[in-house]
Amino acid sequence: MAVQRLNCVGEVCPKPVISTLKKMKSLAVGDVLVVETDNIASVKNVSEWAKKKGLPVQTEEIAPGEWEVYIEKK
């Protein structure tokens, strides 16, 4: 299992979700993508996209106003 990071800090909605969609394609099954963002709307739509795709997803606020979304490719 490899972990890849996607730095979306400073980017506003909908850029992080677009980048996530592209990045997920390059991941192998079992890999985890960490999306770093400071946009609360992106936390919501990135994790909702993952849930819709049936992918395991977790969210954590790592600092005030900064989040990490973990998505596992299945």
Binding site: G10, E11, P14, I18, I40, S47, V57, Q58, E60
Partner: protein, 177 residues
């Protein structure tokens, strides 16, 4: 990786509220706006008051502009430029947003990612501002309040807003903003 439930951070204010709840609250606020001011919610009109106020402060005259002869835009000239219900709404919206961010303990000074983002944001803001003035409102004044007032222009606005969003996403993709 820590195992924690989705959106489990914070209390009720730290959570991301669902869209339907936001919609219901916005609808209720719109009813209050109509009841107390006689007009549905509008946001960007507030900036028009301020812009006219600043322009007139520096000696400009807008009274004979074609734009302000319109029945929709004429009331702008009849009110105080800074003390009016729309200004109050704009100040309230910004204060409320700040308050909610404090309640969620998510306050953060966002950095600009690169100069490209700044330039595109500025151009986008100017186009959006101009658009709201010729479309008689923004996504609140024209779309939300337009449709809830059974006005056809709200639907037309909504349709072209979708076109604009699609175009915006294409630009984001193409220039990697």
């Amino acid at each position: 990786m820590k195992k924690n439930k989705l959106y489990s951070y914070g209390t009720v204010f730290g959570k991301v509220w669902p869209y339907w709840l936001g919609g219901i609250l916005l609808g209720i606020i719109n009813i209050f706006s109509l009841a107390f001011t006689g007009k549905p919610l509008r946001i960007t009109s507030g900036f028009l008051y301020w812009a006219v106020g600043i322009y007139e402060f520096f000696g400009g005259k807008v009274a004979d502009w074609y734009y302000f002869q319109d029945v929709y835009h004429k009331p702008v000239l009849q009110k105080s430029f800074f003390i009016n219900d729309t200004s109050l709404l704009v100040i309230g919206a910004v204060t409320g947003a700040l308050l909610s961010v404090f309640l969620a303990s998510s306050f953060k000074v966002r950095k600009i990612k690169n100069p490209k983002q700044l330039i595109f944001a500025l151009i986008g803001g100017i186009i959006m501002g101009y658009g709201t003035r010729i479309a008689m409102g923004c996504n609140i004044g024209a779309f939300l309040s337009g449709i809830s007032s059974f006005s056809a222009h709200g639907w037309v606005f909504g349709l072209f807003m979708l076109v604009g969003v699609w175009l915006g996403v294409q630009i984001i993709n193409k220039y990697q903003i």
